[in-house]
Subunit: 409 residues, 4 copies
């Protein structure tokens, strides 16, 4: 049952309450953990579908032990004392039984290669072989394909059944602060910026706080030692980061005053700088975990409703915690876009019912902030239709996830 | 800077928006992970203080690899195929340097024993030696005590400085749904209830959804096989759980209709029951992680503001993510209690400034829902004073944490 | 084919060449590794036979990672900084397939418990829970019981077939030096001696060198700190060890001069003593491995023929490297005993042929040192019969191994 | 004290007793383990000497957990289900203390890279990144360089002191069987042969048994699946191996009859062939360990005196178990070469005295088989001089080991 509620509150971006927004960049240990988990899920799904006639097998690789290394960076280089360790944790079908014969599935190999690839395409200055030990500690499981096959996992003509009672929450649109934080990280981690400032590592955390018209953005960026021969080069590089961030923030700001700070934890007089060999704090002390970073929409917004559900690594067939997190955001965005002018802000919460078809949630609630002079009944009816359409379109979502078309963090 | 905002919205418990509340019980893998992390922090802190003249050393043991086992439970018993594995992950000072001499600190031993104890006092039907492999994979660090000692870590006469820019959020009071969910878990995991129903394992997840006046509570309780000789005993035990939960819910409900469901994932006709040997789903497939379970107030409330910060395992000296999570909840509760009649609901958000004293946040915001006829200026002034008092009282908080006086999950 | 050769050389104990003999005691890391491997094999065999109608399944758990801990012993106690880690490595059938249904076998649980027990019955002053992390990293395998069952593994009415081309070597009798070394360790590790000298740990290495009539025996014994309050007590305890050893040596010596040294690596003036908390050097730095300690007869004798084959942990059904090591010693002892007066010394070497019945070696050679006036043809004929009888009696050997009736190290 | 004994026995190669000789090739799991351990020792030594003014630091990395993977080879390729795992185990100084300041040494990184290299230069068809997980689990230690430096570890102007009471044994020359076995492996693992027969993997075990004039050589060679498209190609490749081996054996044989068998464990009619994806049995089930393979002279000779001492991975400064194993073989070879015509065979045993200079063993014994008409007193005097010269020349030996000039397995 989907219902809609009309909200009278101000949109978040206009609220008197301060806004707080954070984004952990693609090289942050928590983001790396999320990306690895999701990459494992994609790789497993792909293998299952390809080798077993399009059948979708159960897996849930949404935990990890990402143990930081130890390193002593210094200008121009440094020493890696201990490698990072990344181990994906979870469950995955590793044996199919066909007519009593066991067909093994190389889960550990599949996951290790997927993780390897993530480290390769995420970091420019990390030598995966030397700097990271990669493993998979999944528990095994078997599926018997002999007789009648498990319908809910089939992904066949029936709608998959919810695996649990879970929440999903989403909202749209992004506020000015949201957009600034999100886009600054994207830009600072783009090839374009890395070409300008190769010393900028991929581990970037952007935090934005709006208080009235003032937006203060704090960036922590792990700098790469080999590109910096001394402190003055380090400081120049931070200036490039600041400049790059300002350029992005200027695109989004309206009548806001934007201030950017970079690496505020540095104490230059004590030579305490955010210097790394590989561009990530995981090389020396900062462990990461799946589901502790950005929510499914790419942001952490403690001033808004948020789910704690980790989307990364879960199966995209019937794990409603994952699916509803993604669907609620997709639907909210569509509602705001398609009903532009009428809907100012939209917030969606969905609760599943274990064992029920995934397109029939136990409860879904759309909070709508509408423009003046809107026919609320018409608009809320359309909004419900859009949400239902997203719920029904689970196969498209699954396919897009499989193709890695969008990030879940 | 602390500021307060007057809110006109309805209290959460009266809102037209559905409420969603969840609590993972003490035997749930995520709660076990949190408790182990916090126990390690307590044990390390205690060792440091005792062996180094009251000095507080840095540590951050807020990650873990909790890898589920494999088991085949059956009525009356079952087989453990593979043990669970619990490894705490993080950093801790393991060497003190005094006049060039190295004094080793048995971090791994301390953590292993702390985790051992958690498993022992959490579970009634789990043989830790046989069923769990426990380890600590912390990265080492040293502290030089020879010269002038690191002031911000000293806990001496100066206020510790914030280690990072972080959020903390909290609220009070609990709604009827919050209270029901929280207290049901507490009761079902009490000695009193376990004596009535020994088959009830400690891994209990309670989820409550309020829609208008209807509260539906769903309980997932891992049942212990050795106390159950067949399916009818299993079903009887579920009835005891339901009855126990109803009794608690009745205490809190006002004009609500409460419905309780237990183990809704069961499919009895296929013999798919929530049966375990040890009382936790971690014995067979459900991995756990630190910071993925209950927030610092003991609940998951995706309908409210929430931080993603994991409190468990972080140092209680200057980790503002942890401290502000706890302080915001403590202050909110005090405000609601001390200003009873005037403040109906209170929500607090605090943002730190890296490098500033922890009692001087960059920004703190108190959202107040006041009763009619309240002098808002007076009330909000008192609320600010209470919050500042909590911020200033960091030593009491630290001491209480050290003594394990309250849970952080 | 068994053939015998008459040897003209002097018996080893009378030889002009110096004799060198070593025995690693039951608490030495290499012996512990051997005992754990063998205990795992026993436990697995036992489970297989019991749960699958007397069928013997393949396994080979003859490797281990026994990683030493770190400790700082001091008189009266000390600190364990890091636990020891013991992981058995190898292969074992963990799934039986019956009519297409998978029956899991708890290999990891079985091995962990077996290892646990070894540590418990080997050491008096080691707290297994706190001081050792135990695991099994065996690779899985499955066996299909549905159709015709693998004959060579059946242990049924057919003779098992040799799994490989391997050597086995053995000799008898023990020389005076052999007997002294062997029996000193046995005595020092007996309950009787431990009651006299509780400070004597189980990690004892005894080395004996005979040069002409002089036998010099060097004992390294890890002493247990909690029983010793200072250096003088330590020295007293060493005296007890020396005295105990002398008493045993006196029983065996003929016209030899025996000298005993204890803990010759100590440098008392620098406080470098062989002090431990738990009674084994594995607590602090000395790793162990399977197959690097005593040969199957309990000794290391670099002055004699020796196999490098590790007996411990191998299957006792058709692993000829293990079986021939044991059979050659058993046969040599029987030959010397049953043909007493005629055979002065006997040395046996057996080579298997992969795929042939285990009682039909490719080649077996008995070297006989006979007394004067012996009918060599008769005697050598009897010796061959005894060896063949031992080869044929593989089921008795297997049963005795299963019951743990004799050590393989 | 060095003494010599005149022996009247026949040289081993002429003896009536059967000879048994084995060599595990460079790709055999036990040889890989030895080579990795020695490579770690070389790399650590090199780092210590280079970074600390030529000082030699303690280390002992002579154990390993080499856990086999799981694979399903088939003609043309196959699937790697699980990677191999290689973890070096031992102790190594990882912290130097200079004037109270800690200088970290990247032991784990050094060892990991050394192991990586071993796998790379050993195997042609193994992708180290994908097929092997490499780690080092060494225990840490520190050395204080501030004051007077540990003399016995200095390698300065004083002779290092023996670390233990240990044996070393060696002999020369190789018999025909010894030479055949040794050289066949060398040839089959040469680039020359691999170009002829790319399907021949590096995991080769050669066993030779001489009985009278008959030498039977059995070769087990892991074949590489991707070069073989069916069983007939497999059989052709085995023929190439056989042919190559015969060619080498022909060079050494005198009046012997040589027979070569390849992969005798195959059961072609059941498709049980020795097929691998990577050229080593470690990919699927065969674990390896340090010190369980070839002795320091490259052979396993259970018919001769042998030490159980593992040379690989031990420090080359004062580990007498390692040094005496090498020195005894070097001296025996020199004696046989330099006293050619006079000395027919030579066997050396050396026993150290813990704490005494390494060039002053407690006892050394040279067994000499001399030609007729030899002045034994003169010859034995010269032999003793040669042995003493080798003992005194420990620095050359150490340097050659550091440069990897000869294998210790």
């Amino acid at each position: 049952m989907i219902h809609a509620t009309k909200s009278e509150r101000k949109p978040v971006g206009k609220s008197d309450f301060p806004e707080m927004v954070e984004r952990k960049g693609k090289g942050h240990p928590d983001s790396v953990a999320d990306e690895c988990a999701e990459a494992c899920s994609r790789a497993l799904t792909s293998y299952y579908l390809k080798n077993f006639n399009g059948r979708y097998f159960h897996h849930n690789v949404d935990k990890a032990a990402y143990v930081a290394g130890q390193a002593i960076p210094k200008f121009g280089g440094g020493i890696i004392l201990q490698p990072q360790e990344f181990e994906i944790i979870g469950r995955a079908i590793d044996t199919a039984v066909v007519a009593g014969k066991l067909i093994p599935i190389p889960v550990r190999t599949i996951c290790r290669e997927a993780i390897y690839d993530v480290f390769r395409y995420t970091f420019r200055n990390l030598d995966v072989d030397k700097h990271v030990i990669i493993d998979a500690r999944t528990k095994s499981g078997s599926v018997d394909l002999t007789g009648l096959y498990n319908q809910e996992m089939n992904g066949g003509d029936k709608v998959p059944l919810a695996n649990d009672t879970s929440f999903g929450v989403g909202f749209a649109p992004f506020s000015v602060t949201d957009n600034s934080v999100y886009s600054i990280e994207k830009y600072l981690n783009s090839d374009k910026f890395k070409d300008i400032c190769p010393a900028s590592g991929e581990d970037i955390k952007v935090m934005g706080i709006r208080n009235g018209k003032d937006i203060e953005i704090t960036i922590a960026n792990a700098m790469v030692s080999k590109f910096l021969k001394d402190k003055s080069e380090y400081i120049n590089a931070l200036d490039q980061v600041k400049e790059g961030a300002l350029k992005i923030a200027d695109k989004f700001k309206e009548d806001h005053n934007v201030k950017i700070n970079v690496n505020t934890g540095d104490i230059p007089e004590k030579d305490l700088l955010y210097l790394t060999i590989t561009g990530t704090s995981a090389e020396a002390g900062d462990d990461g975990q799946v589901g502790r970073g950005n929510r499914a929409n790419g942001l952490i917004t403690p001033g808004r409703v948020q789910t704690l559900e980790a989307a990364a690594g879960k199966n995209s067939n019937n794990h409603v915690g994952k699916l509803y997190s993604l669907m609620s955001n997709r639907a909210a965005n569509r509602i705001v876009n398609e009903l532009q002018g009428d809907v100012v802000e939209c917030q969606i919460r969905i609760v599943s019912q274990i064992g029920a078809p995934i397109n029939k949630p136990w409860l879904a609630d759309i909070e709508l902030l509408t423009a003046d002079n809107t026919n609320y009944d018409v608009i809320s009816g359309k909004a419900k239709e859009i949400l239902q359409a997203e719920l029904d379109d689970y196969l498209t979502l699954r396919q897009e996830l499989l193709e890695g078309k969008f990030k879940v963090w």
